[in-house]
């Protein structure tokens, strides 16, 4: 079988090491653009939260707090599995790499399952802004605004998770084809960076949406 690293080295690069560094820098720059994308939404959320703190606390009290907390732990575990997958790839253990990729994908699916169950419960509680929203409090308009942010930001995050699942699936496929070795596994590393980044975003989403109103229940 041909050496995977010889197949993977593109002609514009001087060495495999330079190619890896270039890819890693490119991935980090992409992740920074993602920070800006979510950062704009976080900024907008902060402005609205400060203008209408009571309404936003009330909206936060309507969250399924424990589902959010469990989901945070679930996603952290999936990130750990991803880190273990990258570790296995570095050691050239392709069997273990495939195992941890499958585990990461499955735990990611558990996260999405819990998330969509929450969405269903909000729909059931008539907390779907613009479609069915029922709230009789005087601050109802801004409670609805809270839910607009909630669905937009967690929805964008869930969309990233779904893309991540696809990327991990592709990594698993390539692992099974034998494309990776101790010397060449950059795609697994970069997929890992993306997955950990999506985890980081959720950590902040949990903090801003679930925590402020949790004691009011």
């Amino acid at each position: 079988m041909a050496d995977p690293i010889a197949l993977a080295l593109r002609e514009q690069f001087h060495s495999a090491e330079q190619q890896r560094e270039t890819s890693t820098v490119g991935m980090w720059i992409f992740l920074i653009t993602e920070v800006m994308l979510f950062g704009g939404l976080f900024t907008a959320f902060s402005v609205y939260r400060m203008s209408h703190p009571a309404a936003f606390d009330q909206g936060s009290a309507d969250m399924e707090f424990w589902m959010g907390a469990v989901n945070t732990a679930v996603l952290i575990c999936s990130s750990f599995c991803m880190a273990m997958a990258v570790h296995s790839a570095e050691k050239g253990k392709n069997g273990r790499l495939a195992f941890f990729l499958i585990l990461t994908i499955l735990i990611g699916l558990v996260f999405l399952g819990i998330k969509f169950t929450e969405y269903y419960l909000h729909y059931h509680d008539q907390k779907l802004p613009g479609i069915v929203f029922h709230d009789t409090s005087p601050d109802a308009a801004y409670v609805q605004m809270f839910f607009v942010f909630y669905f937009l930001m967690t929805g964008l995050h869930a969309f990233h998770m779904i893309i991540g699942e696809g990327i991990l699936g592709a990594m698993l496929f390539r692992t099974l084809l034998g494309s990776f070795s101790e010397r060449y596994h950059t795609p697994v590393e970069l997929a890992g960076l993306y997955w950990h980044f999506v985890d980081t975003v959720w950590v902040f989403l949990f903090a801003i949406f679930y925590i402020p109103g949790a004691h009011m229940k």
Binding site: E17, R20, E21, T24, V25, W28, I29, L31, I32, V35, M36, G39, G40, F42, T43, S46, V47, R49, M50, S51, P53, F65, A69, T72, A73, I76, C77, S79, F80, M82, A83, M84, H87, E90, K91, G192, L193, H196, F197, D199, T200, V203, F204, F206, A207, I208, Y210, I211, P212, A214, H215, M216
Partner: protein, 99 residues
């Protein structure tokens, strides 16, 4: 730059640290801390994010250029949020409408 492999032990400690912080946040959330609960939640989230970036994402072990890129991103984000909040937070400080 040579790649240094992070040990399984480091990953395990990071996992335990992250889960402990999640438990701490969840317990803090059940106490009424007023506006402080939002600040405490975001602060703990920032600690968790740094743990993920440093160990899971290998930021501590990568080349310096990666750290420059991260710092650059953070600085631009802080400019965005601090200038925006600096505007909204200080509205109404002056006794003139709209100032």
């Amino acid at each position: 730059m040579s790649q240094s492999t992070v040990s399984v032990k480091t990953y395990a400690f990071t996992l335990i640290g992250l889960l402990a912080l999640t438990l701490l946040t969840s317990l803090l959330a059940l106490v009424d801390l007023g506006n402080f609960s939002f600040i405490a939640g975001v602060a703990i989230a920032a600690v968790k994010a740094s743990l993920i970036a440093c160990f899971f994402m290998h930021a501590l072990y990568e080349m310096k250029l990666i750290r420059v890129i991260m710092a650059g991103g953070m600085i631009w984000f802080l400019i965005m949020i601090s200038l925006t909040l600096g505007d909204y937070l200080t509205r109404g400080w002056m006794p003139y409408p709209g100032k």
